[in-house]
């Protein structure tokens, strides 16, 4: 081990040229490299439109690339992904402004203009979300709240952003083990890299709590909840039908849903006993009731009430809010093709 460290320091010494200045992003002694990386400034690496002048009715292609952003938007299009291309047909001469923000209040801005022959620059209609104030959630033709769209990572206790309001109904946000159920508390060996490192489905509700996007597709009698993580999905009937009799135990459970006003209530049973919830295993008697609501255009509110009479003294609840991401219209493929056995990297004797 000592030899290995000596070799490493030699490599570092060899890799840093004498007198080289440390970048501001370099970790200070003892600092997490991730914390240091969070200081990297945002920058625009390209922003272009082709062609730059057109006849009325013709199209242009706008393309952009940004690095280390915390937010990326193009006026008048609204929020966009850090990289993209979009075909547009501006009716009048239009200036597009790419604006980005990043760590430590760093920011960058560039503009491109498309001249449309015979027209004057038009007033640029600003993105409604930038105009201030909360927009109402959209509704489907049958008057239900429309949850369709891509959502970002959850906020809440241990999550990102502002936590959701306190638990309604007085249910605790942490579980209490039933007497004698201590064996269900997860105790890990030091070289156990956790429930997610096996690439097996995390189950419900934990699949909502990994930092990957979620996509909801809503149809009149079903709602599809798809997770980028492992490309897990549930096709949930929303017509109020009961559970099938004695469903086979499964990783994601058997869900059925009903509407309670503007809240979609998803009731799931039929889970296997192979997943964990917040550090606890459970049995096949697990029962999860999820409540989805969209209090405004930009927010999906999520609540999961968890019961397992073999494990917990009573029901408890996990709540999160997920931001609507207008800049994405589809989650990505995720195949766990390059997973590793990390145990050798611990170097345990």
């Amino acid at each position: 081990m000592k030899t290995a460290h000596a070799a490493l320091f030699a490599i570092i010494a060899a890799s840093v040229s004498p007198g080289a200045q440390q970048a501001p992003s370099a970790p200070t002694p003892g600092e997490s490299p991730y914390r240091a990386a969070a200081r990297l400034p945002v920058r625009i690496t390209s922003f272009a439109v082709e062609p730059t002048s057109i006849q009325p009715g013709q199209s242009v292609t706008l393309s952009w690339a940004v690095e280390n952003p915390t937010s990326t938007s193009i006026d008048p299009l609204g929020r966009v992904a850090p990289r993209g291309r979009r075909t547009l047909t501006p009716g009048v001469t239009t200036t597009y402004t790419l604006a980005v923000t990043g760590a430590g209040n760093t920011a960058d801005k560039r503009t491109v203009t498309v001249v449309v022959a015979g027209t004057m620059p038009g007033a640029s209609p600003s993105d409604a979300s930038a105009a201030g104030g909360k927009r109402a959630a959209p509704r489907t033709a049958d008057g239900r709240p429309d949850f369709s769209g891509v959502y970002g990572y959850g906020a809440g206790p241990g999550g990102r952003g502002a936590p959701p309001p306190p638990t309604a109904g007085g249910l605790p946000a942490t579980p209490t083990l039933k007497p004698g159920a201590e064996k269900y508390k997860v105790v890990r060996a030091a070289d156990d890299t956790g429930q997610y490192s096996t690439c097996m489905p995390p189950g419900i509700p934990q699949t909502f709590f990994v930092p990957y996007y979620i996509q909801i597709v809503q149809a009149p009698k079903h709602i599809v909840v798809a997770h980028e993580y492992l490309n897990l999905f549930r096709i949930i009937p929303t017509d109020g039908r009961p559970h099938p009799a004695d469903p086979d135990p499964s990783w994601m459970g058997n869900p059925v849903a009903r509407w309670e006003g503007d809240t979609l209530v998803v009731d799931s049973i039929g889970f296997n006993d192979k997943t964990e919830i917040n550090g606890y295993r459970h049995t096949e008697a697990l029962h999860v009731v999820e409540r989805f609501s969209r209090p405004d255009f930009d927010t999906l509110q999520y609540e999961a009430t968890i019961e397992d009479p073999n494990v917990f003294a009573g029901p408890w609840v996990i709540r999160r809010t997920f931001p609507f991401l207008q800049e994405y219209d589809q989650i990505n493929e995720f195949v766990c093709e390059n997973n590793r056995d990390y145990k050798p990297l611990f170097g345990n004797k």
Partner: protein, 123 residues
């Protein structure tokens, strides 16, 4: 006990706002408290989930070439930092800053990478 605590902290880091959003596994197998920077020439870039990997040739103090395995985040995170599948290419000279495997193997997880033109990007 200490190791368990470290693991717990790493798992908390998984979800904390300021910490690494390491999505798929804890960083307990890497020494994150003593960050290292390793510079070398890219041999191969595996643009894959659950994590991307870069393999680089690094010269040690005796002039020997050692292949290092550099682990990056998963593709969704890399895309959000501005990465695409050819952000690094075979032959590129890059510097990777992160935590080395506790075993001492030529293996690390990288939090940021300096590209051939000097741009630094989260990884």
């Amino acid at each position: 006990m200490k190791n368990t605590l470290v693991l717990c902290i790493a798992m908390l880091g998984l979800l904390s706002a300021a910490g690494p959003a390491l999505a798929h596994h804890s960083t307990a197998m890497y020494d994150m408290a003593s960050p290292v920077t390793v510079t070398g020439t890219v041999k191969r870039f595996e643009w894959t989930n659950p994590h991307a990997f870069i393999f680089i040739d690094v010269k040690d103090d005796k002039g020997n070439t050692v292949e290092w395995e550099i682990e990056l985040m998963s593709l969704n995170h890399l895309r959000s930092y501005g990465w695409v599948r050819d952000t690094v290419k075979a032959g590129d000279q890059i510097s990777c800053t992160g935590g080395r495997a506790k075993s001492g193997a030529a293996s690390m997880i990288s939090a940021m990478i300096k590209l051939p033109d000097g741009r630094e990007i989260k990884s």
